[in-house]
């Protein structure tokens, strides 16, 4: 029989002992200081150039306005720039520095930038070979000849995967906070951040905009990052079930995730691309009021698309895993 706890314990143990999580922490420990250093350089440069943050924001508005005046910039870009200008103006009017550097802003920025590529990559490092590695090593034959139903084995793998995804995101945030705090100070939890920007055509609808403490903002962001990471995890689990080799399943998933970021930057005229999971991964962008890559996308839309993909992938994974003959 094997009760649930024992089965999940097995799967968590295997991922842990393969040192997957340790490697991820190591990668974060190398990467974060690099970004912190880059951020420090930028902040330092700004501080020398502009004694007042207002002039920085004003400069950015002016830059974007200039870009808007140019004929060579495509219409999609202009729409985005116009929205950005409007948003910056809003911050300026309210007297809040959108770039005030502290550990919390750095963490929020890092997560927002990591959600489309880096977080999915970390998820794939754990999810991609959950099933295919058992097949490649032959241990699947031991696993599936024990008196436990196959769906329970896959479900225990899914639970373990969920636990690891839920651990990876807070770990990333915590390491970001701890490391960047050395450079920028550990304050900033209470600083107001504006959320609720909505895009209507070319204009930003600010009627629902309100300020939330940055700590709350960070939590909201982490929730959205978790959602998009879980979608990637579910699809990776399916690919891991379908493909025989761990390498093949990792490459397939990486190709899908990377093509998503490429598509997002050029698919504005291909409207049905918005139903692909990989262009919908950037959920935190909605919080910030960044215009979506394709018109007609909204937070609700993206959540729905991701949910459908995730559930569909899990259904396929379970259907195949429980039925398929293990022939090699």
């Amino acid at each position: 029989m094997g009760n649930w706890f024992a089965l999940v314990q097995n799967e968590v143990l295997k991922v842990w002992r393969k040192r997957r999580f340790a490697v991820l922490v190591l990668v974060l420990l190398v990467l974060i200081p690099i970004f912190v250093y880059a951020q420090m350089k930028i902040a330092h440069g700004d501080a020398v150039k502009f004694t007042d943050w207002r002039s920085v924001v004003q400069q950015r508005i002016a830059d974007n306005m200039n870009a808007l005046a140019s004929d060579r910039i495509p219409e999609e870009w202009k729409r985005w720039k116009r929205a950005l200008v409007q948003q910056l103006q809003y911050y300026l009017d309210k007297g809040i520095n959108p770039d005030s550097p502290n550990a919390v802003t750095f963490t929020a920025d890092f997560l927002a930038n990591a959600v489309t590529l880096f977080i999915p990559l970390m998820v794939l490092a754990i999810a991609s070979d959950l099933v295919s590695s058992e097949r490649a090593s032959g241990t699947i034959k031991m696993l599936l000849t024990r008196p436990v139903r196959r769906w329970r084995i896959l479900a225990s793998k899914l639970v373990a995967l969920t636990l690891y995804v839920s651990l990876v995101i807070p770990t990333t945030a915590l390491l970001c906070y701890l490391i960047s705090g050395l450079a920028f100070g550990y304050e900033g939890w209470g600083a107001p951040v504006f959320v609720g920007f909505r895009l209507h055509g070319t204009a930003i609808d600010t009627s629902l905009v309100h300020a939330v403490p940055q700590g709350v903002y960070l939590l909201m962001e982490m929730g959205l990052v978790w959602f998009s990471a879980m979608t990637v995890a579910a699809i990776a689990l399916m690919v891991s079930v379908l493909l025989q080799s761990a390498a093949a399943s990792l490459v397939t998933m990486m190709a899908a995730v990377i093509s998503g970021t490429i598509l997002a930057s050029m698919a504005s005229s291909w409207h049905s691309a918005r139903f692909l999971f990989n262009v919908n991964l950037n959920l935190p962008a909605y919080l910030r009021g960044t215009p979506p890559p394709i018109e007609g996308m909204s937070l609700g839309f993206s959540l729905a698309v991701l949910a459908v993909w995730g559930i569909g992938a899990l259904a396929a994974a379970f259907a195949v895993f429980t039925k398929r003959d293990v022939l090699n």
Partner: protein, 323 residues
């Protein structure tokens, strides 16, 4: 009542099993029973459907037709009940190399109902792995991995042990130990199902045997009875081989076997220069020796080959290559 005890005898029952994979029938009408406490050999050349059958026994592959019952439970319908009575190693004993032997056993123990740490220590001792049990499995030799695999299979005190080509890759000493070990387990009432493409192996190990080829059972029965149906040869060596041969050739009761007509191991014959292989009534050997002596032909040696399953096998499969 009698029916009931008879049913309890049978630990594994394979009933009219058929398997079709992408339009090709791999297994046709496979039927056999394995009883409690017996070592059952499953003999066939590679590609004869052995591995597919074993995989069907443990629910890795679903039969297209037919049923497989272990202790009366259908393996494919109720795997969580039927497989409780089974320990198995399908092909190689694959373990998690990044876990220690103990952790591997713990891992599989968690998938069984109440296996205590004492039981894990006990099976480790049974397979003589207790001194290395806390080392990583990747540091184990093949023989040790094999033993860890058997320890894993024994964890849940199964009634049926399924071993797929268990001697593969083992050295002669390892093979001898394994053989003794399997006999010991059977003596304790465990049924052991052993597949092999090595006939000698099965002959040494098993009580009963099923011989299969091309996805069908050709014959089932006690090893001795099947073996007695096989031919045995009488091999002669003379100081004057030509004279001896012509004398033998003159008799109606003796059949001279051509070089490609027998299945005696080439390496065994190489040690017997000028050997003449015959088929004859072995009761007449003393009489023949007298005749050769009378004719002035010196008999250097006479060998009787033991009846070999290989001969029988080749008869049944009509020359399909073994190995």
């Amino acid at each position: 009542m009698k029916m009931h005890t008879l049913e309890r005898e049978v630990v594994l029952s394979v009933q009219n099993v058929k398997k079709v994979v992408s339009g090709r029938t791999i297994i046709r009408n496979m039927t056999f029973d394995v009883r409690a406490g017996e070592v059952f050999g499953f003999l066939g050349p590679n590609g004869s459907g052995k591995t597919t059958t074993i995989r069907m026994l443990v629910d890795l592959v679903r039969p297209t037709e037919g049923a497989i019952l272990i202790c009366g439970e259908d393996v494919n319908r109720r795997p969580e009940r039927a497989l409780r009575h089974v320990g198995c190693i399908v092909e190689n004993p694959e373990m998690y190399p990044f876990l220690t032997g103990w952790e591997n056993l713990e891992h599989f123990a968690r998938m069984l109902p109440d296996v205590r740490p004492e039981r894990i220590a006990e099976v480790a001792r049974i397979v003589h792995l207790d001194h290395r049990i806390h080392d990583k499995a990747k540091t184990y030799s093949l023989g040790m991995r094999q033993r860890l695999g058997i320890a894993q299979a024994l964890l849940g005190k199964p009634r049926l042990l399924i071993l797929d080509e268990p001697t593969n890759g083992l050295d002669p000493k390892g093979i001898r130990e394994l053989r003794a070990f399997i006999r010991e387990l059977a003596a304790q009432g465990l049924s052991v199902f052993v597949s092999s493409h090595l006939l000698g192996e099965i002959q040494l190990l098993c009580d009963r045997v099923a011989i299969i080829a091309r996805g069908e059972v050709l014959a089932t029965g006690p090893v001795e009875r099947l073996a007695s149906r096989a031919v045995s040869y009488t091999v002669w060596q003379f100081d004057r081989p030509e004279a001896g041969r012509s004398l033998l050739a003159r008799s109606e009761a003796v059949r001279l076997v051509r070089e490609d007509g027998h299945r005696i191991d080439d390496s065994a014959l190489a040690a017997l220069p000028g050997a003449i292989v015959t088929e004859m009534d072995q009761g007449t050997i003393p009489e023949w020796i007298r005749r050769f002596t009378d004719e002035g032909i010196g008999v250097e040696a006479v060998h009787r080959t033991a009846p070999s399953l290989e001969e029988l096998f080749l008869k049944l499969t009509e020359g399909e290559t073994v190995g």
